[in-house]
């Protein structure tokens, strides 16, 4: 087991190293000059431009830029945002909790709806109930998220005045973005739930329980749910990773101050220190959640360790 953990973690770290190299290289390839973007439109002198370029370290060779980025990273110093001069660690500390909060809300919502619909569908497979439940879920994933988000604002904020349209503050602010973000995960969780339930319901012990004359509800709740839970939990773990990283469009539409908006903004203004940090942070979430899920799986199912 220890060897498996070690291998999995070293793999995760290697992936992150590759991501860090890729982001530095891609930023260098991507068109757009950060200095010009900062000074464009003003009567800047060539001297001022050269000075700023030097201050930002852009006149150094790429590998030196990379090494100083990694060096800073190891010391816990991610530099300062070129846009607003704030330490990048501070920027991350601002957006991380916000995005985590939104993701957890979305995860809770999608679990509730997804597991519920999945169970309903599994109890009566290939009936009208099943078809309607699945179609509802799939309709949800079939609406482009930015359109869905804007329609939610239009209905619940502009027409009904029930919920705030955007921004952050109270729990009400989270309802609409969490709903928009959750639709995609609902579909995956629902189908996973339906699949594991169908499997479990066909197992002998469930049939036995039914034959013993236990009420349908008891069977579902006591026996089936328990056994169907493991694969569902796995999917939930992966969905959290997806939600944390996938909130760019949602955060943009709802003006929600999280990781996705920060990244979009940083990319548009070629704020390299912020882009590097955010990309690495997103990758780290993804890689760690993945490794965590794998380890959990290995713990639950010993066969995997020796595969």
């Amino acid at each position: 087991m220890a060897r498996f953990v070690l291998e999995r973690l070293s793999g995760a770290i290697l992936t992150l190293v590759m991501v860090s190299i890729a982001v530095v290289v891609l930023l260098a390839i991507a068109p757009g000059d950060p200095v010009l973007l900062m000074l464009m439109g003003r009567d800047a002198t060539p001297d001022a431009i050269a000075r700023l370029r030097h201050e930002l370290g852009l006149d150094r060779p790429l590998h030196v830029q990379y090494l100083s980025f990694v060096g800073g990273l190891l010391r816990g110093d991610l530099g300062q945002s070129w846009q607003n001069g704030d330490p990048v660690t501070l920027e991350l500390a601002r957006v991380y909790p916000a995005t985590l909060r939104l993701s957890l809300w979305a995860l809770g919502l999608s679990t509730l709806v997804g597991v519920g619909l999945g169970i309903i569908a599994a109890l009566r497979p290939y009936t009208l109930t099943d078809t309607v439940a699945r179609a509802t879920v799939l309709l949800g994933v079939s609406v482009p998220i930015f359109w869905l988000a804007l329609m939610l604002i239009l209905v619940f904020s502009v027409r009904l005045h029930w919920l705030p349209s955007s921004g952050r503050g109270t729990w009400q602010h989270l309802v609409l973005p969490a709903t928009a973000l959750a639709t995609y995960s609902v579909a995956i969780i629902a189908r996973m739930t339906r699949a594991s339930f169908l499997e479990v319901l066909h197992q002998d012990y469930v049939r036995t329980a039914r034959a013993k004359g236990l009420a349908g509800r008891t069977v579902v709740l006591r026996h089936a749910l328990q056994n169907a839970l493991i694969p569902i939990v796995t999917v939930l773990g992966l969905q959290l990773g997806y939600l944390l990283g996938g909130a760019v469009v949602t955060e943009t539409v709802f003006a929600y101050p999280g990781l996705g908006w920060l990244m979009l903004n940083a990319i548009a203004s070629r704020d390299y220190p912020v882009v590097r940090a955010v990309v690495l942070a997103m990758a780290a979430i993804f890689v760690l959640v993945n490794a965590g899920v794998d380890l959990l799986y290995a713990y639950l199912d010993p066969r995997i360790r020796y595969a």
Binding site: L154, M263, V293
Partner: protein
């Protein structure tokens, strides 16, 4: 280790399904599963629209009529006009082709490159597998948006480049699916036997491995079509997608979003088109996946 959230259900259980049997299977699915039938009908409709749609377009989809901007439905313009006074019906009809082509190409890039890489990784294993796994993990962990911006930034914004970006970002899914399916087949005795009697790798892959990998990949690709439509629309929303005046549905929806209050039809018309197309792919893909999953039978 092949779990990407949505596709893993079947990935570890590849089918040995010959072409004839698969056709039979599809028929079974369509007759048993109403959702699948609806999906198939929607996709058939979309295909028909892509082929003949432009012939029925009453106007040139790019012709502007600035005096008749954002007009609601009328006898001249059955679905109204957009912000440049272009006929929305014509744009939707002609746009079907762009939208469908865009997703086919994006999925094509994903399957062609991704599935063959995954197959090679699963079949040959060893160092190639380990290195490629790192690469795929990196791609997966990398925010697709930054990748899209670099691709579109270097090559310039256009539908083609957006499609390329979507294709590249969908690679890991196909790699994983193909690799997992290959791994299972590789361990089967008939593969070892084929090699033992002197079969070449090429022959073994073509005759024994590929047929078993194809099923999961096709299912993934079906759902992947919906994903590609969505992702392309998302890039248009961020200004990285199709360039005007191309009537790609995602770009139309995204430019219509500013008129949700005064002229909602500008967004609603392409929006519904997108939803219908995505729903079709999702319904069909979902049913196919069930059918290929032994636990569902």
């Amino acid at each position: 280790m092949q779990r990407t959230g949505r596709l893993d259900v079947f990935a570890d259980e590849p089918r040995r399904a010959g072409a004839a049997r698969r056709r039979g299977l599809l028929w079974v699915i369509l007759t048993r599963d109403r959702a699948a039938a609806v999906g198939a009908v929607l996709i058939a409709g979309l295909l028909a629209l892509a082929v003949v749609g432009p012939w029925f377009a009453p106007y040139d989809p790019t012709r502007q009529d600035l005096q008749a901007r954002r007009a609601t439905a009328s006898r001249e313009h059955l679905l109204g006009t957009d912000e440049f006074g272009r006929d929305l019906l014509s744009r939707v009809l002609v746009g079907a082709r762009y939208t469908l082509a865009a997703s086919v190409v994006a999925v094509g890039i994903g399957t062609a490159a991704g599935a063959s890489l995954g197959l090679a990784m699963g079949y040959f294993g060893g160092r190639l597998d380990r290195m490629a796994t790192r690469f795929v993990d990196m791609l997966l962990a990398f925010p697709y948006l930054l990748l899209a911006i670099v691709v579109v930034g270097v090559l310039g914004p256009s539908l083609q480049n957006a499609v390329l970006a979507v294709g590249i970002t969908s690679l890991p899914i196909y790699v994983r699916v193909a690799r997992a399916a290959t791994l299972v087949v590789r361990q089967q005795e008939f593969v070892a036997a084929a090699l033992a009697i002197g079969g070449s790798h090429g022959h073994t892959i073509r005759r024994l491995v590929l047929p078993n990998v194809l099923g999961p990949v096709v299912v993934t690709a079906t759902v992947g079509m919906a994903h590609a439509v969505h992702a392309t629309a998302g890039l248009s929303f961020l200004g990285l997608g199709a360039q005007p005046p191309v009537p790609e549905w995602g770009a139309m929806l995204s430019s219509g979003r500013n008129y949700l209050l005064d002229a909602p039809h500008v967004a609603t018309v392409p929006g519904i088109a997108i939803v219908v197309a995505m729903l079709g792919f999702n319904l069909l893909g979902d049913a196919l996946r069930d059918a290929l999953d032994p636990r569902m039978r």
